[in-house]
C-alpha cells in the first residue's frame, strides 16, 4: 500500500511563560525512569536545539528571571501498513526533507497551525442545579441536550446575546489569530499576532496569504485593562533547525479584562470570570508533504494546546490525561478488545512496566509537592519498591481496602460507590460530583490483574510516534476535571475524536473541522460555535481550551487544598486538588544543607510553593495561595519549579542527588506561613480581604 503520514504527538502541550525564550515540551513521561545509571525520571522538558537533553535548574528562567515558555515540538512520521490494532504492527519512522518514501524524495514539508481562544464564547464550568445552586457537574451538565449557562451573558454587557452562534459574540469574544504556515524549505517565524497577515497552505501546496481572514484580539473590540500587557498574540511557530520538525510556542501568561467606565470587572471567581481573557489557546497542527515529483500528501493532523506553566514537570499524576483518554478508548472505541470487549477481559495479562509501575511511581512522587507526614511518605516510597518478581499480596495485603474503586462520572449514588471513602488511595480530591479521586476503571482493572498474578513484565513496545502521543498526555493532569490544568472532561467524550481509528488516522486524533480559509471574509467571524460535549459538531481551533478556567490563573491559585465536594458528613480535613501538577508545598533548594561526610544534600524545611505577601493567613484552607485572585495574576511568574536533584549542580562538583526533588528558581523572598504536615483542617471564621483590587 501507499505510505501515509501522521503528525506526532497527536496532542501536544505548550505552556505559557513571560519570556520570549522557550524550552521544548517533554518527550518522556513523568514517573518513568529514563536513565537507570543516574536515576533520572522522565517528564523534564528538553533544551532547545537538542534531541533529548533534559533541562536543568538553570533553564526555567531567562537572564531577566522571566519564566520561559514551553514550546510543543511536532514530528512527522511515515507508515506503510494499515493500522488494525493498537499498538500498530508498523512502528513508523520519522521523516524529514530529503528522505525517500515509496520511491519519492521529499522536497519540502509545510506546517500549518491555527490558534484561537474561545473561552469567552463558551459555557461556564459551573452549572445551576435543580435547587438553583452552582455546581460543577463536568460532562453530566451536557447530558440530555442540556448545557451550563453561557459565559458573558447579555446581562454582563459584554455581549448582545446569549446565543453562542451570535456573530457579534463570535467576533468580539473569541481571540482568533487565524492560520499560519511555515515551510522547511524557506523557514521563518510565523507569529500568531494581530500585526501579521494569516497565511495557509492552499490546494496547490503553496503558502498563501489570506488578508481577508478576520483575526480578532480583545483590544480591537473593547477598552481593555491589560495589567500584564495587551493580549495581542497567542505565540509563534517555526521550524526546528536541521530536523524540519515544527516548534509551537504559546502565549505569555497574560490576563486582561474589559473595562466598563474605565474599570475592569472584579476577579472573584475561581473558574468563570466574565469579562476576563487570557492568552492560552489551541488548534490543529497540519503538515503537507511535497515530493520532488510535485505530488503532495496530507499528514494526519496533530493538535497543540497552550496552557498553564508546568511547575513540577517530573511529578506524575496518579491519574493522568492519558489514563482518561486511554480508558475512554479502551471502553468505548474498541482500542484493545483483548482488554475490554463488552466488559473487561478477566484473562488479560497486564503489563507491569506500563500498567502498574506508573501508578506506584506516581504515588511515590506526590510527596515532593505535598505536606505528607513521614508515615505516608514511607508508604508511598514502599509502593515504588515493588517489582514484578514480588508477590503482590505480600506487598499489598489488602488491595481493595487500599485502592479506591472507581465508578463512572456522575454516578456518585451508584451501589458500592467508594467515592466518599477518604482513607483510600489516591488521597486527593475527586472529579466533579465525586469527593475523592479514583484511578480510572481501566487502571483499576489492570492493577487488579496484577494483584491476581495475571501479568507479564512488559509487552510489545509502542512505536516511537505512539510513544510520543502517550508521553505528552501522561504529563498532563487527569481524574479531577474541575476543570483541570491542561484539558478537561471532554477527553472522555468520544465525540472529541476521529473514531475510525483503524485506518490511516489512528487513535487519539481530534475530530478536526475542515477549515476552508480561501472563503474567509474580513467582515464575518470565521470560526463557528464548534465542538460541544456529547454533540457531534467537529472541533475547531479554540475548542479544547475553551472548557478551562477563565483566566487560568484563578483556578491555579485556588486549587491548592480544599475540603471535598461533596464533603462527607462531618469532614473538615483538607485534601489536595492537583497534588502532582499544582504543588502546594515544596522543599526549596535554599533550605537544603550539605553533609560533608556523606557528600550528599539533606532536605530542609517545607514551604508553601505560593507564599509571601498577600498569601499569609492562619486559616489552613486558604494557605498556600493568594487571598486575592488578582495578586496571583501579578505574581504567577514568581512561583518556583520542582526538579530532580540530578539537574541541580552544587558547588562541590556534584549535584543535589536523584533522591531529592527540590524547588528552584522561586522569586518569592519570604518563607510565608508555617507548613504543617497533613492532615490539616478547614477552620471557621475566614473572611476574604475586602481590598482585593480588580
Amino acid at each position: 500500500m501507499m505510505s501515509y503520514f501522521r503528525v506526532h504527538p497527536s496532542i501536544n502541550f505548550a505552556r505559557v511563560g513571560n519570556s520570549e525564550d522557550y524550552y521544548i515540551a517533554p518527550e518522556t513521561a513523568a514517573g518513568e525512569v529514563v536513565d537507570k545509571s543516574t536515576g533520572l525520571f522522565g517528564g523534564l522538558p528538553i533544551q532547545p536545539g537538542t534531541e533529548n537533553t533534559a533541562i536543568t535548574e538553570d533553564d526555567f528562567r531567562d537572564a531577566n528571571q522571566a519564566v520561559k515558555r514551553q514550546a510543543a515540538r511536532f514530528r512527522l512520521f511515515a507508515y506503510q501498513e494499515d493500522q488494525t490494532k493498537y499498538p500498530s504492527d508498523d512502528p513508523g519512522r520519522e521523516i524529514k526533507v530529503g528522505d525517500t518514501v515509496d520511491g519519492k524524495v521529499i522536497k519540502d514539508i509545510i506546517w500549518q497551525v491555527h490558534l484561537a481562544n474561545k473561552k469567552n464564547n463558551n459555557f461556564t464550568i459551573t452549572s445551576i442545579n435543580d435547587e438553583g445552586k452552582k455546581v460543577e457537574e463536568g460532562i453530566v451538565a451536557y447530558e440530555d441536550n442540556n448545557t451550563p449557562p453561557v459565559r458573558n451573558p447579555k446581562s454582563t454587557g459584554y455581549a448582545d446575546s446569549d446565543d453562542l452562534n451570535d456573530p457579534c459574540r463570535r467576533t468580539k469574544l473569541v481571540i482568533d489569530a487565524g492560520p499560519r504556515a511555515v515551510s522547511v524549505s524557506s523557514p521563518s517565524v510565523a507569529k500568531f499576532d494581530n500585526s501579521t497577515t494569516p497565511n495557509y497552505v492552499n490546494d496547490s501546496g503553496k503558502i498563501t496569504p489570506q488578508p481577508n481572514y478576520p483575526t480578532s484580539f480583545p483590544d480591537e473590540h473593547f477598552s481593555m485593562f491589560n495589567p500584564l500587557g495587551a493580549i495581542d498574540t497567542l505565540g509563534e511557530m517555526f521550524i526546528e533547525n536541521n530536523t524540519g520538525r515544527l516548534i509551537v510556542a504559546g502565549g505569555y501568561g497574560r490576563a486582561s479584562a474589559i473595562e466598563t467606565d474605565g474599570k475592569p470587572p472584579k476577579l472573584t471567581g475561581a473558574i468563570d470570570n466574565d469579562g476576563w481573557f487570557d492568552d492560552t489557546s489551541d488548534g490543529p497542527v497540519c503538515a503537507t508533504i511535497v515530493f520532488e515529483d510535485g505530488s503532495m500528501s496530507e499528514a494526519v493532523h496533530g493538535w497543540v494546546v497552550c496552557t498553564d506553566p508546568g511547575y513540577a514537570p517530573q511529578t506524575r499524576n496518579v491519574v493522568s490525561t492519558w489514563d482518561d483518554v486511554y480508558d475512554t478508548w479502551i471502553q468505548q472505541l474498541h482500542l484493545q478488545p483483548q482488554i475490554f470487549n463488552q466488559g473487561f477481559q478477566s484473562d488479560y495479562q497486564a503489563q507491569f512496566d506500563q500498567d502498574v509501575l506508573p501508578v506506584f511511581h506516581a504515588a511515590f512522587l506526590q510527596r515532593w509537592n505535598t505536606n505528607l507526614p513521614q508515615r505516608a511518605i514511607n508508604g508511598h516510597e514502599f509502593m515504588a519498591t515493588i517489582t514484578p518478581s514480588d508477590d503482590p499480596k505480600a506487598k499489598l495485603p489488602s488491595f481493595k481496602q487500599l485502592i479506591r474503586k472507581p465508578s463512572p462520572p456522575g454516578t456518585s449514588d451508584a451501589p458500592d460507590n467508594e467515592d466518599g471513602e477518604g482513607y483510600k488511595m489516591p488521597l486527593a480530591l475527586g472529579d466533579a460530583m465525586k469527593s475523592f479521586l479514583s484511578v480510572t476503571e481501566t487502571q483499576y482493572f489492570l492493577l487488579s490483574q496484577w494483584y491476581d498474578n495475571k501479568f507479564v513484565d512488559s509487552n510489545a513496545p509502542l512505536g516511537r510516534g505512539e510513544k510520543l502521543d502517550q508521553d505528552a498526555l501522561q504529563n498532563c493532569l487527569g481524574g479531577r476535571y474541575s476543570p483541570g490544568i491542561d484539558l478537561t472532561f471532554i477527553v472522555r467524550d468520544v465525540n472529541l475524536y476521529s473514531q475510525n481509528w483503524q485506518s490511516e488516522i489512528g487513535p487519539f486524533r481530534i475530530n478536526k473541522q475542515e477549515l476552508l480559509y480561501a472563503k474567509a471574509n474580513k467582515n464575518s467571524p470565521f470560526l463557528e460555535v464548534g465542538y460541544i460535549p456529547l454533540r457531534n459538531a467537529k472541533v475547531e481551533p479554540g475548542d479544547l481550551c475553551k472548557f478551562m478556567s477563565q483566566p487560568w490563573h484563578t483556578d491555579y491559585n485556588s486549587c491548592a487544598t480544599h475540603t471535598p465536594d461533596p464533603n462527607p458528613e462531618g469532614n473538615n480535613t483538607l485534601y489536595w486538588s492537583w497534588p502532582a501538577q499544582r504543588p502546594v508545598t515544596v522543599y526549596p533548594k535554599s533550605e537544603c544543607t550539605y553533609n560533608h561526610e556523606s557528600k550528599t544534600w539533606n532536605l530542609g524545611g517545607l514551604l508553601f510553593s505560593v507564599r509571601g505577601e498577600g498569601t499569609e493567613t492562619p486559616y489552613p484552607q486558604q494557605q498556600g495561595r493568594y487571598q486575592c485572585y488578582f495578586d496571583f495574576v501579578e505574581n504567577w511568574h514568581k512561583v518556583g519549579f520542582i526538579i530532580q536533584g540530578t539537574q541541580v549542580s552544587d558547588e562541590h562538583g556534584n549535584n543535589y542527588g536523584s533522591n531529592n526533588f527540590i524547588e528552584v528558581s522561586s522569586l518569592f523572598d519570604t518563607d510565608g506561613d508555617t507548613v504543617q504536615v497533613w492532615p490539616t483542617a478547614k477552620e471557621l471564621g475566614y473572611k476574604k480581604p475586602d481590598n482585593c483590587g480588580p
Binding site: 513521614q374 519498591t385 489488602s398 482513607y423 480535613t573 504543617q676 504536615v677 483542617a681 477552620e683 471564621g685
Partner: protein, 445 residues
C-alpha cells in the same frame, strides 16, 4: 541508671478554675467513683473479665479505676513504671527515656520525642521537647510470647481475627505517658515527677533526632497518660486518656482562629494566645534546635480543642459521666495526693460488643465493617490528649484514638521490611512496632 523520687506529697493544691474539673459534683450519683477504690493505696485492679458494658459510666469507671491502680504506689513508684516496654519483648535494651535511634520515624515506640502520625515535636515553654514512653502489661507480654508473635512469619500466618486476650481477670494493656522536662523555676509541685535520663537531641541530616549515645539526667513531670485496655466484649480496647489539670485551656465552642482562647496561663499555653497560634506543628517547616542548649524554637502553644473529647452538645451524657466521676474521684482521693491534679479527658470504644474485625480503617464514627455489620464508635468521639496528640485534635481524619488505632494493613517504616497484613491485633501500635522491629532484628542477624 534510672532513679525514682518518692511520690511527692502535696499539702495544698492551687486549683485553676478551667471549667473542666471538679464541677458538677451534684451529678456524682450518675457516675461515681466507688468507695472501694479508696484509699488510693488499696484501689483494686478492675476485673476486665467481668466488664458488662452496662452503661456509659461503666467505661469511665473502668478508666479511672485503671488509672488509679496503675498509679498506685508500688515499691515507691507508680505501678505502671514497673511494666515492661514493647521492645523488651524482643530483648532490645530498655533505656529509660532513651528513644530508639535504630527505627525510622513513623513507628511509635517507647520513649519517643515525636508525636504519632504527624512527626510533630511538642515543645514546652522552656524550649524543651516533651518525651513519651510506652508500656505493656504481663497479659500483653504473655500473649505475644506464648504465640511466638515476635517471629513475623507467625504474625503473617496467624488467624487475622485473633484478638488480645483477658488472662483471668486481666486484659491486655498498652500505656503511653508524656513527660515534661522540669527546669529549676518550673512549678511542678502538683505533678508527679521523677528523675531519669533522656537522650539528647541533635541536628543530623537535616532532621532533629536523638543521639542515644549522649544522654543527660533530668527531672521529668508526668503531663499526660493513655490507657488502652481489653475488657470483656471489647477487643478494640477501651481507649482512655488523662491529663494534668494545668496543661492547656479548653477551646470555647465557636472560637475562631483570630480569637484568644484564654486569659490564664497554663503549662503549655500563654495567656492571651489566639487559637490560630495553638497546636501549630512546626516540625516539618521551621522548627530549629539549639543543640548546645538543647532547646527548640518555636515553642508550642497547646489548647484542648474538645473538652472531654466531644463537640458541644454531642454525647452530653458521656461528658456528664466524665465530669461527675472526675469530681467524685477528686472528692475521695486524699487531699495530699498528687493524682488529684490529673483528670480524665475522656474515653472511647465501640458501641457494639465483639465487633472488631480485620480491615477496619475506623475513619468515621459510624461505618459498615468488612463483614457488613454496622459499627459505631461511642464515648468521647473527638478524644485527644493535648500533650500526646497536640497537632491532630481538629482534623476529622485523626481526631480520635481509633483513627490511627485500627485494623487496616500497615506499610512498613523501612523499604526492606514487609507490610503488616490487616489483623485485629493491629489495633495496638505496640504490636505493630513489635512486628516491624522483629523483621529488622531478623534482617540484622
Amino acid at each position: 541508671m534510672i532513679s525514682y523520687q518518692p511520690l511527692k506529697k502535696i499539702t495544698q493544691l492551687s486549683v485553676i478554675t478551667t471549667g473542666l474539673l471538679f464541677t458538677h459534683a451534684s451529678f456524682a450519683d450518675q457516675c461515681p467513683a466507688l468507695e472501694e477504690w479508696f484509699p488510693h493505696s488499696q484501689t483494686p485492679r478492675p476485673n476486665d473479665a467481668a466488664f458488662s458494658s452496662s452503661s456509659n459510666c461503666e467505661f469511665h469507671q473502668w478508666s479511672w479505676q485503671m488509672f488509679l491502680w496503675l498509679t498506685q504506689e508500688e515499691d515507691g513508684m507508680p505501678r505502671f513504671l514497673s511494666f515492661n516496654s514493647p521492645q523488651s519483648l524482643l530483648g532490645m535494651e530498655h533505656r529509660g527515656f532513651l528513644p530508639r535511634m535504630t527505627k525510622s520515624p513513623g513507628t511509635e515506640s517507647f520513649d519517643e520525642y515525636l508525636q504519632a502520625g504527624t512527626d510533630g515535636i511538642f515543645v514546652d515553654h522552656n524550649g524543651k521537647a516533651v518525651y513519651y514512653s510506652q508500656y505493656i502489661n504481663s497479659t500483653f507480654e504473655n500473649f505475644i510470647t506464648s504465640n511466638q508473635l515476635t517471629d513475623p512469619a507467625n504474625v503473617r500466618s496467624m488467624d487475622p481475627t485473633t484478638a488480645f486476650p483477658i488472662d483471668g481477670t486481666k486484659g491486655a494493656l498498652e500505656l503511653k505517658a508524656s513527660w515534661k522536662i522540669v527546669d529549676s523555676d518550673d512549678e511542678v509541685s502538683d505533678m508527679f515527677t521523677m528523675e531519669t535520663t533522656v537522650a539528647k537531641l541533635e541536628n543530623k541530616n537535616g532532621k532533629i533526632v536523638i543521639n542515644p549515645d549522649k544522654s543527660k539526667s533530668v527531672t521529668v513531670a508526668l503531663v499526660g497518660f493513655h490507657i488502652g485496655g481489653i475488657v470483656e466484649g471489647h477487643p478494640e480496647m477501651i481507649w482512655a486518656t488523662f491529663e494534668h489539670k494545668r496543661n492547656a485551656p479548653d477551646v470555647p465552642h465557636g472560637t475562631t482562629l483570630g480569637q484568644v482562647v484564654s486569659t490564664d496561663d497554663y503549662t503549655f499555653y500563654t495567656a492571651g494566645t489566639k487559637l490560630g497560634d495553638c497546636n501549630v506543628n512546626a516540625a516539618a517547616s521551621n522548627l530549629t534546635l539549639n543543640q548546645r542548649k538543647q532547646t527548640l524554637s518555636p515553642i508550642t502553644q497547646a489548647c484542648r480543642q474538645y473538652a472531654f473529647g466531644n463537640a458541644k452538645g454531642v454525647n452530653t451524657s458521656n461528658t456528664e459521666s466524665i465530669q461527675t466521676i472526675n469530681a467524685s474521684v477528686y472528692s475521695q482521693l486524699d487531699s495530699s495526693s498528687v493524682w488529684r491534679n490529673y483528670f480524665e479527658v475522656g474515653a472511647i470504644w465501640f458501641l457494639e460488643q465483639n465487633a472488631l474485625e480485620p480491615g477496619m480503617n475506623l475513619a468515621t464514627d459510624s461505618f459498615t465493617a468488612p463483614s457488613g455489620r454496622s459499627v459505631n464508635l461511642t464515648g468521647s468521639l473527638k478524644l485527644s490528649n493535648a500533650t500526646i496528640e497536640t497537632f491532630t485534635q481538629r482534623q476529622t481524619t485523626m481526631d480520635n484514638c481509633f483513627r490511627c488505632h485500627n485494623t487496616a494493613q500497615e506499610f512498613p517504616p523501612k523499604m526492606t521490611l514487609e507490610p503488616l497484613p490487616a489483623t485485629n491485633l493491629n489495633i495496638s501500635h505496640a504490636f505493630q512496632n513489635i512486628y516491624f522491629w522483629s523483621q529488622e532484628n531478623q534482617n540484622n542477624n
